[in-house]
């Protein structure tokens, strides 16, 4: 149990990157990017977890109850928003790409080569 959550983190990242590299459809590729990013959520919350501790809300528990790390939760919230923002922008680019290129296969979205 000590390392298992982090193995899952590495797995999610690897799977997401695999999807991006092998993708033949831009929308699929964007979803894979979301997957790769979700590994950071699990990692952040994983490192801040404390066994047996409560959530960091002191509304109905005494003030000094051991609680898990609130900072990583705040960071994850920021991360979620950033991910949603980037995804929205990428999706709008995909809509335009479909219109201008007539395809969403990244291998055919090629305009200029070195």
């Amino acid at each position: 149990m000590q390392i298992f959550p982090f193995v899952v983190v590495a797995w999610i990242l690897a799977v997401g990157l695999y999807g991006i590299v092998t993708s033949r459809h831009l929308v699929h590729q964007i979803v894979c990017l979301i997957v790769a990013q979700s590994s950071t959520y699990v990692l952040l919350l994983g490192v801040g977890y404390k066994t047996g501790a409560v959530a960091p809300y002191f509304f109905d528990v005494p003030d000094h109850t051991p609680a898990v790390d609130p900072v990583v939760q705040a960071l994850t919230l920021t991360d979620v928003v950033v991910g949603a923002a980037v995804t929205a922008l990428l999706l709008s680019l995909a809509v335009q790409a479909q219109k201008r290129f007539g395809t969403l296969d990244p291998q055919e979205l090629v305009q200029l080569r070195g």
Partner: protein
């Protein structure tokens, strides 16, 4: 590279990368053993310092409020970016497309009724969440997203014209700017009083956990809620825009 070459190069590289990553991850103290000190110090002092019982909100809107400011502007920029990218689609004639059948059939009356029936309660929930950042698990961000999804429901219900009337782009734009700009200005107000940027200059109330407690935390949460709801609404509206035009013509 051909897809096959790429796949093999990638598989070799990712195996090495995962091994390397795991080497790093194995150096962590182990799941469930967060070592501190950051989170522990915050948990100890946050309630007394801010009168907010939801420590995550205190971190988001006070201790690390500056991060959240950047985050709100990322969302703001993304909404502007979506408008930039999609604006050329607007006005371009797509009459021939309007007749083609595509993946969003007209909703049945039952779906429309259900969706509309849910809209009211969802707006209420969104408002509740945005107003309780400082007490329970909630906050401007979650509330804003829920509010935006209420409008998406209106769209699902097929009430496009209503959707359009509720979210004319100009007004939503302005609301979004007020949300993100308001956040930045709350920080400036502190600066104007000779305090540090984003310092909590409002009275924090006497009871931790009351809706009126925690000073600027609640205020910032409100602005974040505005910004988030408007930004997602704008993004959805930009994506829907064309659909609206197509449907109107079909009627």
């Amino acid at each position: 590279m051909t897809p096959v070459q790429r796949r093999w190069i990638f598989l070799g590289a990712i195996a090495a990368l995962v091994a390397f990553y795991l080497w790093g991850l194995s150096g962590l103290p182990g799941f469930g053993n967060y070592p501190g000190p950051y989170g522990d110090v915050i948990n100890r002092v946050a309630v007394a310092q801010t009168n907010a019982t939801a420590v995550v909100s205190a971190v988001n809107f006070s201790y690390r409020g500056f991060d959240t400011l950047g985050e709100e502007f990322i969302l703001f920029v993304a909404a502007s970016g979506v408008s930039v990218v999609l604006r050329h689609l607007r006005g371009e004639q797509e009459r021939d497309d309007a007749s083609a059948d595509w993946a969003m059939p007209r909703a049945t009356d039952a779906v429309r009724l259900a969706a509309l029936a849910f809209t009211g309660p969802i707006v209420l929930v969104g408002w509740y969440l945005a107003a309780h950042a400082q007490t329970t698990p909630s906050g401007g961000f979650q509330g804003g997203v829920v509010l935006a999804s209420a409008f998406v429901l209106i769209y699902l219900a097929g009430e496009f014209l209503l959707f359009k009337r509720i979210s004319p782009v100009d007004i939503t734009d302005a609301v979004e700017a007020v949300g993100s700009g308001g956040f930045a200005v709350v920080g400036l107000a502190a600066l104007g009083m000779g305090l540090a940027y984003l310092a909590n200059f409002l009275p924090r109330g006497s009871t931790p956990g009351a809706v009126s407690s925690s000073g600027t935390i609640a205020l910032i949460s409100f602005f974040v809620g505005l910004e988030v709801a408007a930004a997602f609404l704008l993004i959805v509206a930009e994506l829907v825009e064309q659909t609206l035009l197509a449907r109107q013509e079909a009627r």
